[in-house]
């Protein structure tokens, strides 16, 4: 015979204001099977929990119902208290009389009646609860990090330094990401490559990091602790074991006019190339779309140019290399795929994103973006650090920076703030004034958002000490007149229109997630927002977890991030991963689906509706090993306990532990409907 205890919480005034908690306790005490029913101001407080523990012992309770907040809040608290009182924790349930009742109603009498009804349903459910025990699944204690920018590098190093193996996958020929392209970094103006390249080398030399550069994640199977990841190692056309990185091949390549991705199109590279001198790994890659040999092969013509192969003393060039696939077992995945910059052109990858016709759709020469300016200002850049405009190589004496290009512009499809632009524009004006002493930098901005340690001081310094002229207002139109760029703006603080000539314009364009983020997110079953940024599990309390257990997120693929943010997030993911790897076995909630093997007909409706890929095929064999039947099996490691299979099964052969048909039915019956 059930002996249920009911504990009604006032939650201060949250519940007590609208619900007569004492009356709820009184009425629930009259429900058959309830032997103890009390109310208390704060049930989640320590004295409240002690009441639960004490009642279990004194009244010999077989089940506990706490009428309080959502189970998302305090279910764990009360299940622990129940366990502390000597009962199986899964014999404790929450009746949600706050979010589902007191917060949404005003009529106290009616809300009290509803609170009693809600509590009664849970009492009936708990009468049918059975003790459950947590599921233990093994953990593969190796991690996969996707993306070799600063976030991925930091995450990989932290996990590897914590003693676990890391697989680092980078789609480009070298790790380093956007940070390797930057000249100097705010707010300290330290050289970006000087602080980044040591970490890149550390990754390469680390005994516990396996680097797959020029590789992409092909598919992901499995679940937390037990992922199986297939990685495509794109054909580099180089035998990595033979190449010694001497660079003879790149010097001899005749196709030297290819816009360099690393220099944002401002410099040139060859078809066989190393993206930049400090590249890790220091291995050349043949760009098959631009290589004469491969262009001829695509047209069915015989191979002509083999100069790189002739120049190679190690016979490392392999024109017949094909994409290879490797499969790695990992227990956790960190997504750190970073960002790309929005471009203002007419053609956009997504229909909701628009270009800037009023700024010439990107056709005006000498209008560049922030990353291009970084390459111009960088000592390793195409101009060796001289500020020269692309069209004629002249030094611009009047340079204008426009902030919020795409960002905070819902009409162009991006309503968010890209966060880093205010700071890097201030930095750009400083770099410019340091290099062009007789030049004038002007900035058109809407707001200066410089929230960070030393950030506001930095942007003020650009204005007060370094002479950048800041004008508050968006520019309406920009066009070319001879070799100057005409700018039509408005100074909203002075209240007057401004027309201005510029020699060069730098656009602080919006940060967007990398192309292909949606297909990667789908492979990983993680959600993303309308812009493609990966969603965190909770914006405050679980900022680096995703909604898929075992998959974590770091850096600018989650939202616009600067370097300190990205590094902090990366270290946070490493801490999460190392925490997960602390034990050989992983404990999971036992509320998972189970298949009744005797009645399952093997129709696999459940497999088709399962959003998590948890349903597998299981063969029932006789002693001779002949397959008699093929039925469904729910992998408890993957199952998230959503119950869709249970609702779908035509023969009622699937039951979700803790939410059986009988339990749900008894809840409905308790309402008397």
């Amino acid at each position: 015979m059930a002996r249920i205890g009911v504990f009604v919480c006032h939650c201060g005034e949250n519940i007590g204001r609208t619900v007569d908690c004492a009356k709820v306790a009184e009425l629930c005490g009259q429900v058959p099977g309830v032997v103890h029913s009390v109310d208390y101001k704060y049930m989640c407080s320590d004295p409240g929990q002690q009441m639960v523990k004490a009642a279990i012992a004194e009244k010999g309770l077989t089940g506990v119902v706490v009428a309080a907040c959502s189970p998302h809040m305090h279910e764990k608290t009360f299940r622990r208290a129940t366990a502390g009182g000597g009962l199986n924790p899964f014999l404790c349930e929450m009746a949600n009389v706050r979010e589902h009742c007191s917060w949404i109603h005003e009529d106290r009498d009616a809300a009290t009646v509803k609170a009693v009804d809600i509590t009664k349903t849970i009492v009936e459910k708990v009468k049918r609860n059975v003790p459950l025990s947590t599921i233990r699944i093994p953990v593969t204690r190796r991690a996969l990090v996707i993306g070799g920018g600063i976030a991925g590098i930091q995450a990989a190093l932290d996990i590897a330094d914590g003693g676990r193996e890391v697989i680092l996958v980078e789609k480009d020929p070298s790790i380093g990401g956007h940070m390797s392209q930057l000249s100097e970094t705010f707010p300290t103006l330290d050289c970006s490559q000087c602080i980044l390249t040591p970490r890149m080398v550390e990754v390469y030399q680390h005994p516990r990091i396996k680097l797959y550069s020029y590789s992409e994640v092909e598919s992901v199977e499995g679940y937390i602790g037990n992922f199986k990841v297939k990685i495509r190692r794109k054909a580099r056309s180089i035998d990595e074991d033979k190449c010694n990185g001497c660079g003879a091949c790149t010097k001899t390549c005749p196709n030297k006019k290819i816009p360099s991705e690393f220099d944002c199109g401002l410099g040139k590279r060859t078809a066989i190339y190393v993206p930049f001198p400090q590249a890790v790994p220091n291995l050349p890659t043949i760009d098959r779309a631009k290589c004469l040999l491969f262009m001829n092969r695509a047209k069915g013509r015989p191979d002509t140019c083999k100069k790189c192969a002739e120049a190679c003393s190690k016979e490392a060039i392999d024109f017949d290399q094909v994409d290879r696939f490797v499969t790695e077992d990992v227990g956790a995945i960190v997504v750190a795929t970073g960002y790309q910059l929005y471009t203002i052109g007419k053609d956009q990858a997504k229909p909701n994103i628009k270009g800037y016709g009023e700024y010439g759709y990107g056709t005006i020469p000498d209008v560049i973006d922030g990353l291009q300016f970084e390459r111009l200002a960088s000592a390793s850049g195409p101009t060796s650090g001289k500020i020269q405009r692309p069209s004629d190589g002249k030094e611009p004496k009047r340079i204008v920076f426009l902030q919020c290009i795409g960002s905070r512009d819902p009409q162009k499809g991006m309503d968010y703030c890209s966060k880093i632009c205010c700071m890097y524009v201030a930095k750009h004006t400083m770099l410019y004034h340091h290099k062009v002493h007789d030049g004038q930098a002007t900035v058109f901005y809407m707001d200066i958002r410089a929230a960070g340690k030393g950030y506001d001081e930095f942007s003020r310094r650009a204005i007060e000490e370094e002479g950048a002229r800041y004008i508050r207002g968006r520019v309406s139109k920009m066009w070319r007149d001879g070799d100057v760029i005409k700018i039509q703006g408005f100074d909203t603080l002075a209240g007057e229109p401004i027309e201005m000539d510029a020699d060069m314009v730098v656009l602080a364009t919006a940060m967007r997630p990398q192309p292909g983020i949606d297909s990667l997110a789908q492979k990983l079953s993680v959600s993303y927002d309308q812009h493609g940024f990966i969603n965190e599990a909770h914006p405050k309390l679980r900022p680096v977890e995703t909604n898929t257990a075992g998959v974590y997120v770091a850096g600018a693929c989650q939202a616009p991030r600067d370097i300190p943010d990205a590094v902090a997030m990366a270290s946070a993911t490493a801490s999460k991963v190392l925490g997960l790897f602390a034990n050989e076995m992983l404990e999971r909630e036992p509320t998972v689906a189970r298949v009744d093997e005797s009645s399952c007909a093997g129709c696999f409706h459940c497999e088709r509706v399962c959003a998590y890929g948890a349903v597998e095929h299981k063969e029932i064999k006789d002693r001779a090993g002949n397959v008699l039947r093929v039925i469904a099996y729910v992998n408890p490691g993957v199952c998230q306990g959503c119950g869709t299979c249970q609702a779908t099964c035509p023969s009622k052969s699937v039951e979700l532990a803790g939410f059986t048909d009988e339990q749900i039915w008894s809840e409905i019956q308790a309402l008397g409907v």
Partner: protein, 190 residues
């Protein structure tokens, strides 16, 4: 709201931004004062009440100051402000709605000449289905416009046949009239 601010009209208890939103379906409070509208406004040098000033005064519920300002009446309705606005605030439509509200007001500076011109223009369209220039000139000058301005240009304009003496009505004047009636009914209802 600070004590130095003008109080908004007693007859309209709702904040101006709410009234505008009812009329246009757009929320004027979306404006974040970037000034891109005014940067492109061809009349920005002619008035001190540019599109972004109008949006700001709406947000601050300053109908009296809008009544006094000439910007609303100098607006050419070229709608550059609207096409540039990053936030979809539609300053042009907002100013349309304000002109509708202000047309009924008699207090403050009236900008009689500009309003007389607007009224005369619409009277011509109502009567003839199109603009009858001579009629416009007459009714504008008699209705409060400057009596003798531009008079000296009349002979040369007449000589070049740019100013017809008799109106040419469009077909379907009845439909035009019904449009005016429907608009008037809508205004009464609103």
């Amino acid at each position: 709201m600070g004590s130095h601010e003008h109080s908004h009209e007693h007859s309209a208890a709702q904040p101006l931004a709410t009234r505008i939103q009812h009329m246009t379906g757009l929320n004027p409070l979306k404006c974040y004062q970037c000034g891109k509208c005014s940067a492109g406004c061809p009349m920005a040098t002619e008035t001190t009440t540019r599109p972004h000033d109008v949006m700001r005064l709406v947000a601050r519920d300053q109908l009296d100051r809008l009544t006094d300002a000439d910007g609303l009446w100098l607006c050419l309705t070229c709608e550059t402000c609207t096409s540039r606005c990053p936030n979809g605030c539609d300053p042009a439509r907002t100013m349309d709605a304000l002109r509708e509200i202000l047309a009924a007001r008699t207090n403050g500076k009236n900008h009689n000449a500009i309003r007389a011109f607007h009224r005369s223009f619409l009277t011509q369209v109502r009567n003839h289905g199109r603009l009858f220039e001579m009629g416009l000139i007459m009714s504008y000058k008699l209705g409060g416009g400057p009596m003798f301005a531009d008079v000296t240009t009349t002979p040369s304009v007449l000589a070049r046949g740019k100013l017809g003496l008799a109106p040419h009505n469009v077909k379907g004047l009845e439909e035009i009239r019904r449009i005016f009636e429907a608009c008037a009914a809508q205004e009464d209802g609103a």
